[in-house]
């Protein structure tokens, strides 16, 4: 640990690293210092004045030694004015008061100023329920207003860009969004215009935020000034259940929270994890979850009936019985898995299919921040379980040549031409595709929001995600389907993981609860992400 200093906050001894500010030091001992403009990942602006605390230093005598009082303790000289906690660093022997009447009075004053021109339209404000202004009004405010004049009116319901709605009346001018856009997103486009109580947040004309990280300013906005347009008026946050999850849209695997109510996911927000995504996530990942509640989701196992000439729904038992019978009779089985499947599913898939198996690469452009070129969240998991073999061209050639007649597809699409050549095509997927259209058997799967499982991200970090909502129809998690096809006896996902931990040395000694909410780094020899073969991708398309 770096050099530390000892100080006292509200009578509690704190050992904090040198250079830490008082808000963070107080957090170490569980004391909350209210603040608006301060954000641990941004530079310090110090303009909200909410984090004022009373600080004092030991009185020094002529030899620069702390002078002792009659009780044998150092005499503390308190500063005449309060200091802001965010920009005051810890010092040896410092004494900090955060709850004295003096501090409380200052907070009341700050709250009163912040609320002078605040429109108080909480009933129509999306932030209500997770608004720092509401929370601190209750905790530290006066509870009544002395302001009788007309409030300043500013632009309301304006669109900052297509994704973000700006309500300037609600803004408390903390400048977090300005600093985020400048320092993290890298587009210095927001700023304040006008002066005094007419100060208004706006973007430079024609310079609306257009990075892939804009929506993070909605998260860090402590009030309802910046709100997400496509979540606007959708649900009140107090109805939403928070489920810890992992973003399945690229190999970064940003830690997220899924906000759902009664089987519908309404939004996805980032979750703090300094080892992966700090506290941000990209808009591409954040907004790409609508397929969960797509009305066309597959809800029941079905078979393309030779008798009726159309799809007929089956029970799971019947589907399993028919497929296992046909798989036993079939010769070579090939499998196309998905890098979006969980590690457990890939492990079972490998067991079911055998050697002739591969995943389909999905790539895009990396942006050098969070978004990776590899858009599969679990390429490393596929490698670890032996599903990523690079045999995809071989499989596809085999189908074309008529050598491969039986194919199981897990969560990927297939060309119509290829699908027609197969004798037996079993597709496990969530949404209708070309492959499910031509498949002999379609088995409905679940999205990442409906099952538990693990992903291994591009840096070999094993991360766990949880089920937020129940599956649609009689669809069930893929690991259950694969267990049934294998004839195995895993009763829960924990059993699959336990078997995996026994088989794969990289996972030895781990279980789902040991992974924790933040994941664990795995020690895998080979580099997890290899350059994706463009040819393989082209063939797959």
């Amino acid at each position: 640990m770096a050099e530390t200093v000892k100080l006292t906050i509200d009578g509690k001894e704190v050992v904090a690293p040198k250079g830490m500010n008082l808000i963070e030091a107080a957090k170490l001992v569980g004391i909350e210092v209210p603040h608006y403009c301060y954000h641990p990942k941004l530079t310090i602006a110090g303009n909200c004045r909410m984090c004022l605390v009373d600080t004092g230093m030991p009185k020094l005598d002529k030899d620069k030694k702390p002078e002792l009082g009659p009780d044998g303790k150092p005499v503390i000289m308190f500063a005449p004015k309060l200091a802001i906690g965010c920009n005051t660093t810890v010092a040896e022997g410092m004494v900090v008061h955060t709850r004295t009447p003096k501090v409380q009075k200052a907070r009341e004053g700050v709250m009163e100023f912040l609320l002078i021109n605040h429109p108080l339209d909480c009933p129509i404000c999306d932030q209500a329920g997770e608004c720092r202004l509401q929370e601190f009004s209750v905790d530290y405010g006066k509870g009544e207003s002395r302001f009788v004049e007309e409030k300043v009116h500013k632009p309301k319901q304006t669109k900052l860009n297509a994704k973000i709605t700006l309500d300037d009346e609600r803004c408390i001018l903390c400048s977090r969004c300005i600093r985020f856009m400048k320092e993290v997103a890298g587009q210095d486009c927001l700023g304040f215009v006008n002066r005094g109580s007419y100060s208004t947040l706006t973007c430079y004309p024609g310079q609306e935020p257009k990075t892939n990280y804009d929506l993070n300013i909605v998260d860090i906005c402590p009030v309802g000034a910046l709100t997400q347009t496509d979540f606007r008026f959708e649900q009140r946050v107090w109805f939403l259940k928070e489920t810890k999850s992992v973003c399945p849209n690229c190999s970064t695997g940003c830690n997220t929270v899924l906000w759902s109510r009664e089987g519908v996911v309404y939004r996805q927000t980032p979750r703090d994890n300094d080892a992966v995504n700090q506290c941000w996530m990209c808009d591409y990942g954040r907004l790409n979850f609508k397929f969960i509640n797509d009305p066309t989701r597959l809800t029941s196992p079905s078979v393309k009936s030779a008798v009726y000439g159309e799809r007929v729904n089956l029970t799971w038992l019947e589907a399993t019985r028919q497929i296992t019978g046909k798989l036993k009779a079939a010769g070579t089985i090939a499998g196309i898995a998905s890098g979006r499947a969980t590690t457990e599913e890939l492990f079972l898939f490998k067991k079911l299919v055998g050697d002739l198996v591969d995943i389909v690469p999905h790539t895009g452009e990396a942006d050098g921040k969070l978004l990776q070129a590899d858009r599969n969240p679990n390429t490393a998991g596929a490698k670890l379980t032996g599903c990523a073999t690079g045999k995809l061209p071989e499989i596809l050639e085999g189908i074309k040549a008529g050598k491969v007649k039986t194919l199981i597809v897990l969560g990927e699409d297939l060309d119509e031409e290829l699908a027609k050549k197969l004798e037996l095509l079993v597709v496990i997927d969530t949404l209708p595709t070309k492959a499910t259209e031509h498949a002999n058997y379609v088995l409905p799967g679940t999205t990442f929001a409906e099952k538990r499982g693990t992903f291994i991200n591009g840096k070999n970090r094993l991360q766990r995600f949880n089920a937020a909502i129940p599956p649609v129809g009689i669809a069930r998690p893929e690991w259950q389907t694969l267990t049934a096809l294998l004839g195995a006896s895993y009763a829960a996902i924990e059993d699959v993981f336990a078997d995996m931990a026994r088989t794969l040395p990289a996972l030895a000694g781990l279980n789902l609860s040991k992974i924790g909410d933040l994941g664990v780094e795995l020690k895998i020899e080979q580099p997890a992400v290899q350059p994706v073969s463009q040819a393989a991708e082209a063939v797959a398309k």
């Binding site: 129509i124 300043v152 309301k156 649900q235 109805f239």
Partner: protein, 191 residues
């Protein structure tokens, strides 16, 4: 255990004094004030704070007062209320309110007339009025929707006019002092 029966006198065994006593009580009550109300022909007189069926109200300008903040849905103990939030029409006279319920349903079979919804409402949009005999032939009839609730609620007088001057002046208006929804002309600086 053996119950000891009281020994009755001859007159007691004839029951005649008891019958006469009972009839005397009945006769005594005949000229007295009647307490029985001939419901349903005769309706009860309800006090002002009677908690009947919850209803939605409009203000005298015809604005639906509910802004679908969903606090009533949250506070409702039997979870009888279900709101689908939505937007106010852009061109409407009350578009500055931004939000209004797309659908507002109260399941009257679930409602327990506790009045929490009225109490929690920050907009004074929901009132428990005097309707108490809520009946129907089908369950669906007793799921009151927004239209039905507004019909029942009618217009409520307003003394605050919370939203009348709320919201920003039209776009293009310079940001500056405002009174009664109109920008205040700046006086020439007097030196």
């Amino acid at each position: 255990m053996q119950v000891q029966r009281p020994k009755l006198t001859f007159w007691e065994r004839t029951y005649i004094p008891q019958i006469l006593k009972g009839m005397w009580i009945t006769i005594r009550h005949l000229p007295m004030k009647k307490f029985t109300r001939m419901y349903p022909e005769e309706k009860p007189k309800l006090l002002g704070d009677y908690r009947g069926a919850p209803t939605l109200v409009k203000d005298p300008e015809g604005r639906v007062k509910c802004v679908s903040c969903q606090l009533c849905e949250f506070v409702c103990p039997p979870k009888a209320i279900r709101i689908t939030p939505g937007f106010r029409a852009d061109q409407a006279f009350d578009s500055n309110v931004e939000k209004e319920p797309k659908e507002f349903e109260i399941d009257m079979l679930r409602c327990i007339y506790c009045g929490y919804c009225e109490e929690v409402c920050p907009e004074e949009a929901i009132f428990l009025k005097n309707d108490f005999a809520i009946t129907g032939y089908k369950r669906e009839e007793l799921r009151f929707n927004k239209q039905k609730l507004l019909e029942l609620g009618g217009v409520q007088p307003d003394s605050i006019w919370k939203w009348k001057y709320k919201g920003a002046p039209p776009p293009g208006t310079p940001i500056g002092p405002v009174r009664d929804g109109k920008p205040v002309e700046k006086k020439a600086a007097g030196h």
